[in-house]
């Protein structure tokens, strides 16, 4: 171990088994400063202990991860959230990202990848899983959906992804790690990270109404 303190992580999940598993996986790499199994307690403890990263379950009783996120960011906007879930509907994932989560990973993520994702979140970068990248590409896609509807352009000024950003998202969706993407596109990992962060920003700022429309008309996977 080196001198820099370990990032302080807080776990929120209503399943004790999952928390125990995460605890075991993360204990060596982070300082786990607490865990909560329900929304109210989570908000209180997170505000009190101000962790670097909160690992947040999307689906919980009483409003789920979204409620925690909204409850905490009102008073402590500096806390960073990484959403963690089994497999969710597009609208839930997009909602939690728009509410301010820095990323979304599925629970079948491998241990080392999760560690990397948390470190990335702590550093203020965005973490996109394959599924989230797919959702985003789908939301910004110009292609009509299965009902044959007309293309759904989002807010044209703010919401267009650059060709490079689309390229990066596609590689993520294809299963490439940031490192592999950097090698493939012959750019630095830092540049990959900044592309992904830009996409996250666009996602959080884009025209709310249309993105919600998109999410509700999708029932992917």
């Amino acid at each position: 171990m080196n001198d820099t303190p370990l990032p302080r992580v807080f776990l929120v999940d209503d399943h004790a088994l999952i928390r125990a598993g995460l605890h075991a996986e993360l204990a060596g790499s982070f300082e786990i400063i607490g865990e909560a199994d329900e929304v109210g307690a989570a908000i209180e403890m997170i505000i009190e202990r101000s962790p670097d990263v909160v690992l947040l379950d999307v689906h919980m009783p009483d409003g789920g991860g979204l409620a925690v996120l909204e409850g905490v960011t009102k008073t402590s906007p500096a806390v960073k959230f990484l959403a963690l879930s089994v497999s969710d509907a597009a609208e839930d994932v997009i909602a939690i990202i728009r509410a301010g989560a820095r990323g979304y990973v599925t629970k079948n993520i491998e241990g080392p990848e999760l560690v990397e994702a948390i470190i990335r979140t702590a550093g203020g970068d965005a973490v996109f899983s394959r599924r989230l990248a797919g959702f985003v590409l789908d939301a910004f896609s110009q292609e009509g959906d299965s009902s044959g509807a007309a293309p759904r352009p989002l807010d044209p000024e703010l919401d267009q992804l650059t060709p490079r950003e689309i390229e990066v998202l596609r590689l993520i969706a294809r299963g490439y790690s940031y490192k592999e993407i950097a090698a493939r596109l012959e750019i630095s990992i830092k540049t990959v990270e900044s592309h992904v962060s830009a996409v996250l920003r666009k996602l959080q700022l884009s025209n709310r109404h249309q993105l919600t429309n998109w999410a509700t008309e999708r029932r992917l996977l």
Partner: protein, 397 residues
């Protein structure tokens, strides 16, 4: 029940409250005299636990007296106006009704605070309100007023039937006015009843949903769990069972109504992709993680692409040694692409064993037949990616 007058009288004279009430209701039906009497007693008699009656309170307050006076004058003027318009027949009934209404006003103004509270809860549950909260009192008052006027009008017409000419017309107009009045009065109550019924129906539907959920969980998840317990010493089998169950549950959660009914062939890109996932996971115990961007309908070239993609996935499942395969499919306006990636052992494209060569060739040939392209990228130790692109026909919709 209303002002507690009946039970008060009953207590005073030692009879049952119910008897007094029945007498009161019957007398109320006779030209409203009972109602007027009831209200008068309500005003005059001191409420139990209070030291002054409504009458003493009202008559000792100058402002209250003024209000009462002004309203009475207005109402009486209105009645006289009605009379000149030809409503003679009502006579006594109308006057008594008016008297009761004025007494009612006096009760409302002069009621003590907890009596008023009691009246308010009574009013909240009365028939002329649609909901207990969102209705404005002004709206209720106007609606009730309009309803009562129409009803009285209707009754007055009907009561003249006997001794005037044109009886048929009177009956029709009178009945219509009465019905309209009653409708205006009781429509809110009717709306409320209907709405309560639909709430109930929805609650039943939700209960039904829960029952379906429980049944499904029992049928599939419990069975799988018991299978998993039996296969506890066989990790590969446990993984396979868990994967099947997970996928099953996911599809069911996303679309419970079509679940189990779709044994027919898939009709869209995303459905076909899920079909590939199911086949490979069930037969090879390797996870297939599918991400689809922009679902489209199937046609010959898309089917060819899917067949080639399936082959590539199968190949990865058989040979790569990886425990999961990433499948990414994207439909763009001009092409559909499919990427099959594993992080298994990979191979040297130069020295492929013959059987693998054959599969690779069949993938490429399938794609070429529809003007598509296939690229296979692999390095030993670093996994394999098969990249397929199929141009889309210009669709004439």
């Amino acid at each position: 029940m209303l002002g507690g007058v009946c039970s008060g009288i009953a207590k005073r004279f030692g009879v049952q409250a119910r008897t007094v009430r029945i007498v009161a209701v019957i007398s109320a039906l006779f030209l409203a005299s009972g109602a007027a009497l009831y209200m008068a007693m309500w005003i005059a008699i001191t409420r139990q636990g209070e030291d002054t009656s409504i009458f003493t309170r009202t008559s000792s307050d100058k402002r209250e007296k003024e209000i009462l006076f002004v309203v009475s004058i207005a109402v009486i003027t209105f009645l006289i106006a009605l009379r000149t318009l030809g409503l003679h027949a009502l006579g006594l009934f109308l006057w008594l009704l008016t008297l009761s209404a004025l007494e009612g006003l006096m009760v409302w103004r002069g009621a003590s605070s907890d009596e008023r509270e009691h009246l308010r809860t009574l009013a909240d549950s009365s028939a002329v309100r649609t909901t207990t909260k969102s209705d404005s009192w002004l709206g209720v008052a106007i609606r009730t007023g309009v309803g009562v006027v129409f009803a009285i009008w209707g009754i007055s017409f009907l009561s003249r039937v006997g001794y005037e000419q044109g009886a048929a017309a009177y009956v029709i107009v009178g009945a219509a006015a009465l019905v309209l009045g009653l409708f205006v009065l009781f429509a809110p109550w009717w709306v409320r009843t209907v709405r309560d019924l639909s709430y109930e129906r929805r609650a039943r539907l939700r209960a039904q949903d829960r029952a379906d959920m429980a049944a499904h969980v029992h049928d599939s998840v419990m069975q799988t769990l018991s299978l998993i317990q039996r296969a506890a010493d066989n990790p590969a089998e446990v993984t396979r069972l868990a994967r099947i169950q997970e996928r099953d549950l996911r599809i069911w959660l996303a679309n419970p109504e079509t679940f189990g009914t779709s044994t027919n062939p898939p009709t869209s890109l995303a459905q076909s992709a899920l079909e590939i996932e199911r086949e490979i996971e069930d037969n090879y115990g390797v996870g297939v993680d599918v991400v689809v961007v922009a679902d489209i309908a199937l046609d010959d070239s898309v089917n060819a692409l899917l067949a080639a993609g399936r082959e590539a996935t199968l190949n990865a499942a058989k040979w790569s040694g990886a425990n999961s395969i990433s499948l990414y499919i994207e439909a763009e306006p001009n092409q559909v692409s499919m990427f099959i990636r594993d992080q298994g052992k990979g191979f040297d494209l130069g020295q492929v064993p013959d059987d693998r060569q054959g599969i690779a060739r069949s993938i490429i040939e399938r794609m070429h037949r529809y003007d598509g392209t296939a690229v296979i990228r692999s390095t030993p130790g670093n996994g394999t990616e098969v990249e397929l692109h199929m141009p889309r026909r210009v669709h004439s919709e």
